[in-house]
């Protein structure tokens, strides 16, 4: 599976895109209608005060163009990126924007020609300092998203016109599978204790006491050392020489395409999340890749990354 190449129309549109685009806002349209009406009135009656008002209205239009241009020129943008983008839900995305000289106002940033929706804004950008703009973007589907540029829009100074400039900036955003509810059972553990308890946090482990540490979330309260906890005023857990964990190998079968592949990726991602959160080790078996079992958030991130690239191997090679 691969991302379809951009259509001819989209490429032509990108090639013909002017350096600035101007869009009249809703209030701007009404403003133009009023200006037209005042102009007709002035020409019709010869009332000098209407000429004065007309002059003011036209000056404001020209001033809007000049000030908005001053606002969006000489801008430098870089992508700070995101901590993790999951399909179908908003994720925090950041850009770093700066200006060498002059101030800028009311800037709105978004990604151009990409399926990402959402935008971030900055009210005032002083000269010489980088401002990090945060936006809640949403990606509709899993996989790498090719980013070509950042769209910067301003309605400064009066909100009558929205002037837009696109800053060319190549990049790739990897979107992880959608987070959801995994109905299917992860199957039997490849390695580890087999018994009633399916959570290693609820087992005592074996061997001598190796130490005490603070009880974290989801851990079994039965492992609390009550005496020590009472003396220090917080819950402490007993750690033994051998903590028992299970090892699961999750896999995505080869030959899956389309919705079936998406569904399986989402399911595996959710199973891995649950198992890793429960303290187990999880490995991943993909048609062209294998991840060794591991635990913790780093392993989860590696699994998500592998699942996100699944079906987009060609682009991965290009990106590499």
């Amino acid at each position: 599976m691969s991302t379809p190449p951009p259509s001819l129309w989209r490429r032509i549109k990108a090639a013909l895109r002017p350096p600035r685009t101007l869009k009249v806002t809703r209030m701007g349209r009404t403003y133009l209608v009023v200006t037209f009406g005042v102009g007709i009135g002035a020409l019709n009656t010869g009332n000098n005060l209407l000429y004065l008002v007309l002059g003011l209205l036209l000056s404001v239009i020209i001033l809007s163009g000049v000030l908005s241009e001053r606002c969006i020129k000489d801008l430098t943008v870089r992508r700070v990126g995101t901590d993790g983008a999951f399909a179908g839900e908003p994720f925090a995305f950041r850009w770093g924007i700066s200006r060498r000289q002059g101030h800028a106002f009311a800037l709105t940033l978004s990604e151009v020609d990409s399926p990402l929706t959402g935008e971030g804004g900055v009210g005032y950008l002083p000269a010489g300092a980088e401002h990090v703009v945060r936006a809640d973007l949403t990606a509709p589907r899993r996989g790498p998203v090719k980013l070509t540029g950042v769209r910067i829009t301003t309605t400064w100074p009066l909100g009558l016109f929205a002037k837009t400039r696109v800053v060319a900036l190549e990049g790739t955003l990897l979107v992880y599978p959608r987070r959801g509810f995994a109905c299917a059972d992860p199957g039997e553990a490849a390695v580890g204790h087999v018994g009633e308890a399916n959570n290693p946090h609820r087992m005592d482990g074996t061997g001598d006491i190796a130490g005490l540490r603070e009880l974290s979330e989801h851990e079994d309260a039965r492992r609390v050392h009550w005496l020590k906890s009472a003396s220090v005023g917080k819950l402490l857990k007993v750690e033994r020489e051998r903590e028992e964990r299970r090892t699961y190998i999750l896999g995505v079968q080869s030959g899956l395409t389309g919705d079936a592949l998406e569904q399986r990726c989402e399911e595996v991602a959710e199973q891995a999340h649950r198992l890793l959160e429960a303290g187990h080790e999880v490995g991943l078996e993909l048609p062209q890749q294998r991840l060794r079992p591991g635990a913790g958030s780093g392993q989860e991130r590696a699994i998500l990354r592998a699942l996100a690239w699944l079906g987009f191997e060609e682009q991965r090679e290009e990106a590499a």
């Binding site: 009023v34 036209l58 001033l63 106002f105 100074p157």
Partner: protein
């Protein structure tokens, strides 16, 4: 949704109030609309939005109001423009009291824009300019803050201080642009839609009535409002004219008030001749301003011919007829906001005809009140003695009154016999007391006299003379055989003109001066003014007589030179910036051309290989093109990084040499193959 910025809402509300005020200063907006909008603005300024829960219902309520306004217009009870402006005010009020969101804010300010346009159509007041300025500043600041507020992420503060300064600058530039457009955009038609001014500083305070009642206080003397403007030909040139501007005269005194027995003429004429003219008459073009508040024509003493009168109404100027009344009074037939007319007057000192007086009126010039105090006659006789010349007797009495009596504006109110009170009790009074005393004392001695009222003064502003409401005055006309009526003023000279505070007078003068400039430069600006402006810009100024010509160039030459200098500076700056970038682009283009020529000879750069690498590789491999490429590479590096840009034509020469080497190389490659075949 984030909480809207309070300052922005206040600015929005005040901007709307300014827009409505631009219509209200015309005085034509109905009081109920004025009251409703005022209440709405106040409630909104307090942060209350009572219509937020039912915006649609309250919007529907506007429909019957619109219907009522339409019916009022259809019935002829209301002007269409006034009705439209009132409705715009109501719409803005409804929006002000509704929930605040970007759409509502935009609608409020656009309704304000409509109200400003309505204000422009309703009046030409100077206050309109103030309201327009206020609306432009307040609405721009509000809109600018709204734009920034929309871009600021929720929870973060709006950078108000940083936003206000550039917005102020922007508004100032927009104002300058508006003025430039106003001055230069060609006027294609006559200024027909303008409506004349109304009394801008409150209701009119001066005026003429059919009687003059002695007593009361002299508050009018402290009123500095300008009631009359006059342009005189020949121009006296004096800063203070100190002349008598006659309104009307009175011949009958009943002990308390003056009146006239002359019957009004039923004829209405556009031109009236009161008396035969003289040789050196003074021509006056007079404008009675809305603050005047009466229909009586005013003219420099002694008026001979009056006519060519226009009445200013809210809908334009109209030619107006004059009606002649008793006491030499002329009145406009209809009431208007202001009037303008032309007068020819006989200058002071020239003998005049007493005018059209019948025998009854002549007899009345000697009439005394029935219950006149006999002491007055005795007093007059003591002063006049056996003097038989009316003018000499009048001057004796006048000097005596000025010497023995004091001027005051503080009086005790109405009394039974004000003249007796003035002469024997208080021994102080204002101009009416002095004039009445002189007139009646002359009559007791058998000299014909009458009371005249009008204004005294004339203050020069520009090439015109202004007369203020406080200049209202009363004096005495003495009938001198062979010379006609001669003016004698018993009021002390220092108290004849207005008695207003100097500071107040200065402020009103300033306002009047600005208002005059506004009227001539904006309201009455025409195609002719545009042509004059352009001609003044393109032609040298005319030599005005009496004005010394300086050797220095005129101001406009300095301004033009400054503008040209600024244009040259900015052009140079722009070009120098472009020039700094040019060598880099030139070097890049140069290396692209080199690479193209090399690739045509089969030498292609590998991935990541620069021209320097290619040149080194060719030298290593002893390639035949290496001697040609090596100096090109060195030159490129110098141009690109060594601050030695390529000279004009240098790149073309180098590329030509490379092309030659490439062609030789190609020929050398092709020759052995031909032999082999």
């Amino acid at each position: 949704m984030t909480r809207p910025n309070r300052l922005r809402l206040i600015l929005r509300d005040l901007g709307t109030a300014a827009a409505f005020a631009s219509m209200a200063v015309s005085g034509q907006v109905p009081a109920w609309a004025l009251g409703l909008v005022l209440v709405a603005v106040l409630v909104s300024l307090m942060g209350r939005r009572p219509f937020a829960r039912a915006p649609r219902l309250t919007a529907i309520l506007l429909v019957p109001l619109a219907g009522a306004l339409y019916l009022a217009v259809a019935a002829g009870q209301m002007d269409l423009v006034v009705a439209a402006c009132s409705f715009a005010g109501l719409v803005a009020s409804q929006r002000l009291l509704s929930e605040t969101n970007p759409a509502t804010d935009g609608q409020v300010l656009l309704a304000g824009l409509l109200m400003i346009a309505g204000g422009a159509a309703l009046s030409g007041e100077l206050l309109f300019a103030v309201c327009l300025l206020a609306f432009a500043v307040l609405a721009s600041l509000s809109l600018g803050l709204a734009v920034v507020e929309a871009a600021v992420p929720p929870g973060e503060p709006v950078p108000v201080r940083h936003v206000l300064r550039p917005l102020f600058m922007g508004v100032l530039i927009a104002m300058a642009g508006a003025v430039a457009f106003f001055v230069l955009f060609p006027r294609l038609n006559w200024n027909m839609g303008v409506r004349r001014a109304t009394p801008g500083l409150g209701p009119a305070t001066s005026g003429f009535s059919d009687t003059v009642r002695l007593g009361g206080s002299g508050t009018l003397k402290s009123n500095p409002r300008v009631v009359l403007r006059a342009k005189l030909t020949p121009d006296p040139g004096a800063q203070r004219l100190d002349s008598y501007w006659l309104g009307r005269t009175y011949d009958t005194f009943n002990g308390q008030e003056w009146s006239t027995i002359g019957a009004p003429s039923k004829r209405r004429r556009t031109r009236v001749t009161l008396r035969p003219g003289a040789e050196k008459q003074v021509y006056q073009r007079i404008e009675l301003l809305p603050a005047y508040g009466a229909r009586t024509l005013i003219a420099l003493e002694t008026p001979a011919k009056l006519g060519n009168a226009l009445m200013h109404t809210p809908t334009g100027d109209r030619r107006m007829q004059l009606q002649e009344l008793g006491g030499d009074e002329l009145r406009f037939v209809e009431e208007g906001l202001g009037y303008s007319y032309e007068v020819y007057s006989v200058p002071p000192g020239v003998d005049t005809d007493p005018g059209k007086l019948d025998q009854k009126e002549m007899d009345q010039l000697l009439a005394l009140p029935e219950k006149i105090d006999p002491r007055i006659e005795e007093l007059a006789h003591q002063v006049v003695g056996n003097e038989t010349d009316p003018l000499a007797a009048a001057q004796k009495l006048s000097s005596w009154l000025q010497r023995e009596y004091t001027y005051t504006l503080e009086l005790g109110g109405d009394v039974a016999d004000p003249l007796m009170e003035f002469l024997f009790v208080r021994k102080a009074g204002h101009c009416e007391h002095f004039a009445t005393a002189l007139t009646l004392m002359l009559r007791t001695q058998g000299f014909e006299a009458r009371l005249a009222t009008g204004f005294f003064g004339g203050e020069r502003v520009g090439d015109e003379y202004l007369v203020r409401a406080g200049d209202a005055h009363a004096w005495t006309h003495v009938l001198v055989p062979g010379r006609g009526f001669v003016t004698v003023d018993a009021t002390p000279a220092a108290y004849r003109a207005n008695q207003s505070l100097e500071l107040l007078e200065s402020l009103v003068s300033l306002y009047e001066a600005i208002e005059g400039m506004w009227r001539t430069s904006v309201v009455d600006y025409s195609f002719r003014d545009q042509m004059n402006f352009l001609r003044d810009m393109s032609r040298p100024p005319r030599n005005e007589p009496g004005k010394e010509r300086t050797q220095l160039p005129p101001l406009r030459a300095w301004l033009t030179a400054a503008l040209a200098g600024a244009a040259v500076y900015w052009t140079w700056r722009y070009l120098s910036r472009r020039k700094a970038r040019a060598p880099v682009l030139e070097a890049t283009r140069f290396v692209d051309s080199v690479e193209r020529q090399l690739s045509s000879a089969g030498v292609r750069a590998r991935d990541g290989e620069t021209l320097e690498d290619v040149s080194a590789r060719l030298t290593r491999e002893a390639h035949p093109l290496a001697p040609a490429v090596s100096p090109l590479t060195r030159r490129y590096l110098e141009a690109r990084f060594g601050q030695r840009p390529l000279r004009p034509g240098e790149s073309a020469r180098l590329l030509k040499e490379l092309k030659h080497s490439v062609e030789v190389h190609k020929q050398q490659q092709q020759t052995p193959r031909a032999r082999a075949s």
